[in-house]
């Protein structure tokens, strides 16, 4: 039996296409009305995405900081109270198990948001630490409110002063007597916020948000539009761009943070963290793969393409999309070392079908040094009043 989120009654009413997907066992809309329209709401006005199915774990207790510091690759002591940090965590072999965000709610009180279920790993990791781990996935309803007019819409809803919240900041408001936590985070690469609230206030929040957001052209968006936005913004998706190490059965199919272009999240100055020994060895020995963002010629998304260097197959595409705002055909690829350095010119072997007719295209592509969408409004505080 599929689960539904606390927003389901509102989502079902809005989901005209009745196009549903499965996100960790939750009924999730792939698209409401039209994928492009939803995508443009995110980029031009405000889009709303229900991220309640995200796995949420509360970590509390005197050792909470020390525990998280051993668990994840980055230095958690640098994430101050009221801040959010993006990170990955690895197994002992230095292979990425998941990526997610750490919310520093109060002294030794954290929430970690994860793509994969992590209960067993979090508990095993607690050996020797005085911490309490609580799965809050069903206890917290969450909405991502993303797009240039998101701050204005939320302010109109009553979140006065929200424009002062910096990227990766965290603040709290009163919502009808219930605490409403707001973080300036998101998965679209745009100006945007995430709202966290007790499930019994979810529907009221949705209603009030859409009423206040109407002048700001607020629209709900589904998984497919999110996919376009996150590829445009250069964000990796667990289970798509890498396999969580714990789910991998075959040898060599997992990836290290370095191989995913996430080396900047690894703090080798920490004395101990999961994967440290293996990552140290990888730094000395060299990585097997490189993460590359490719600018692909033409407009055919290079989904599942082989990447060639001359006649040699050197990689595969994990995510691909035509990015409407950047007007670029982008692909994320895993490329064997030493290929895939910035500027490297490769070829994507693209297959596509029109009316049962398959076509093979050998599209030249080039490794670029940054995501194609990186708008200053994402970082500006206060954000402009669009």
């Amino acid at each position: 039996m599929m689960l539904t989120t606390p927003f389901h009654s509102r989502i079902a009413a809005a989901c005209e296409l009745n196009c549903w997907g499965d996100w960790m066992g939750y009924t999730t809309p792939n698209a409401y009305i039209d994928v492009e329209l939803e995508y443009f709401a995110v980029r031009c006005t405000t889009g709303v995405f229900d991220l309640s199915p995200m796995n949420k774990y509360r970590i509390t207790g005197p050792d909470a900081e020390a525990y998280l510091n051993r668990l994840v690759t980055r230095d958690v002591s640098k994430i101050r109270v009221g801040r959010v940090g993006y990170t990955v965590w690895c197994d002992d072999a230095g292979q990425v198990m998941d990526d997610g965000t750490i919310f520093h709610l109060a002294e030794n009180d954290y929430r970690i948001c994860a793509y994969a279920r992590a209960t067993d790993w979090l508990h095993w990791s607690a050996l020797g630490f005085d911490v309490t781990i609580t799965d809050e996935t069903a206890e917290v309803a969450a909405l991502a409110v993303q797009g240039p007019t998101s701050c204005a819409a939320l302010t109109a809803m009553g979140l006065t002063g929200l424009d002062q919240l910096k990227p990766f900041g965290l603040t709290e408001f009163d919502f009808e007597g219930e605490s409403l936590m707001v973080s300036r985070t998101g998965f679209t690469g745009d100006l945007g916020y995430e709202l966290w609230i007790a499930p019994h206030k979810a529907e009221a929040l949705w209603d009030k948000l859409f009423a206040a957001g109407k002048p700001y052209l607020i629209k709900p968006f589904g998984t497919h539009a999110l996919e376009m936005a996150r590829i445009e913004a250069g964000f990796l998706q667990a289970g798509v761009d890498f396999m969580p190490a714990e789910e991998v059965v075959r040898n060599g199919r997992s990836r290290s943070p370095f191989e995913l272009g996430l080396g900047w999240l690894v703090d080798m100055n920490k004395s101990v963290f999961n994967g440290r020994r293996a990552l140290q060895q990888e730094l000395a020995r060299g990585s097997r793969y490189r993460f590359a963002i490719l600018d692909v010629d033409g407009n055919k998304p290079a989904n599942h393409s082989f990447i060639l260097k001359g006649n040699k197959q050197v990689g595969t595409v994990t995510s691909a999309a035509w990015c409407p705002t950047a007007k670029t055909n982008v692909a994320f690829a895993q490329v064997e070392m030493p290929y895939g350095a910035v500027g490297d010119e490769l070829v994507a072997e693209i297959y596509y079908q029109r009316e049962l007719h398959w076509t093979r295209v050998l599209a030249p592509c080039k490794v670029i040094d940054a995501p194609v969408f990186n708008h200053p409004r994402r970082r500006a505080t206060p954000p402009g009043n669009f």
């Binding site: 197994d91 790993w121 095993w124 020994r277 140290q280």
Partner: protein, 521 residues
Amino acid sequence: MTDNYDVVLVGAGHNGLVCATYLAKAGKKVLVLEANATPGGCAATREFSPGYSVSSCAQWLNQLHPAVTRDLALESHGLQWAARELASISLDLDGQHLTQRGDHVEGGNVTAADSAAFREFHAKTTKFAKLLVKAFEARAPKLVESNLTDRLTLIKLGLGLKMLGRDDMSDLMRIILINMYDVMEENFDSAQLKGLLSLDSLLGSHMGPRTPSTVFGYLYRRVGEVFGHTGHAQVKGGMGALGQAMAASAQAAGVDIRLSSAVASIDVDAGRVTGVTLADGQQIAAAIVVSNADPITTFERLVGLRNLETDTARRVSQIRCTGGTAKLHLALNGLPRFTGLDDRQLGQRLVIAPDMNYIERAFNAVKYKEYSTAPALDISIPTVHDAALAPAGGHVLSAIVQFAPYEPEGGWDAHRETFTQLIVDCIASYAPGIKQQIIASELLTPADLERDYGMTRGHWHHGELGMDQVLMMRPFPGATQYNAAFDGLYLCGAGAHPGGGVMGLAGRNAAQEIIKRGAAA
């Protein structure tokens, strides 16, 4: 003394001393730190009552590897034998005792068919034990990484297995994972013989005759015979004299040994070991730290689970390591009289394990944290061969007791007296006058063994010797081949391959590995 050591070794147990000696002979500057006031670990002698001394942990020498004896020149460093090639005598209440010596078994209710079957069984299991030895004399091979040393070991094992011939090979594969009870039932009629061999398969463990892996336990014990120990041997001065001889050999090789120096922590930083901190706060730096302590003590207490990566911490927490063995020491004012035993027989190894169900019932208790009401015993009266262990005319009796729980309900203080009485009653049913001869007694429970010898939960072998925890799984996957979790940190004790028993191979193999990896470790 300078603190400029290549290697700091935690624990002067027999494996620690063996490892230290080999390392020193290879040119390393080695410091051994021992919490106790005497070296030797479980190779210990202690005066438990004024004038009465006994081997307080291990009591027989039946597995020490000949290369260790030779390379450490133990006999020229003071090792003397009080007796060798002792037989095992399984006691019977009516005096119909069974005697086993090598492949020969007689007496009791043993039939000619049993006797012949035992000869055959002994020959076959000797072949199997020889095969184990091929794997024991080198580091455990890893299966996933192809490496020449490991391949050679695997080839030796594979060839050895093949050389057994089709029938024996398939028989070994069939029995190695199963339990002693079934295999005994297949081979013998004599309940006494089946009881004796079953006890051999599980001494020091937390297993009963019907527990899987006990056949492996039996073969493990039998490697002693491959090493040339025909029967059990008794060290003059008790097992502590072996510890002393090993310490003397280590010192002669240039090893510094500091006694009464407990290590509080093994210090690590950024994936490598940096040294140790003593209980008094003194820090000693070293690029290589070798731990003779058991893996749980090493990783949980000395390194700290917080300093381990999660999978290692998880594996450490999953090691099966709960002792079920106690030691009873009796000071006697004269030689005890056992029904149907003459004085010469009193000096042999005496076993109370009349049948397999007796042992299984004794084991049942410990599963529920209770002590056996009719325990199985492995008894030594060392003063028969070594009068110096007691005042003139006096004797000592030492018994390995299966089974005693690590943590009985209500704690050991509530049970110590009753359990002691119960074991004495058990012995008295075979040696009627013994109660009147007792001057003093001492019971060492698994909790006491933990306190005195640092063995986590009192487990003799520093971790159960089950098929899930031997070879490349000992002490746990990822920590085979002696190095674990940190560059420069090694294990050399019974918790490492091949395992427990006063054998010395864990220490010897660990030293070879450390030497091979060189200073970079």
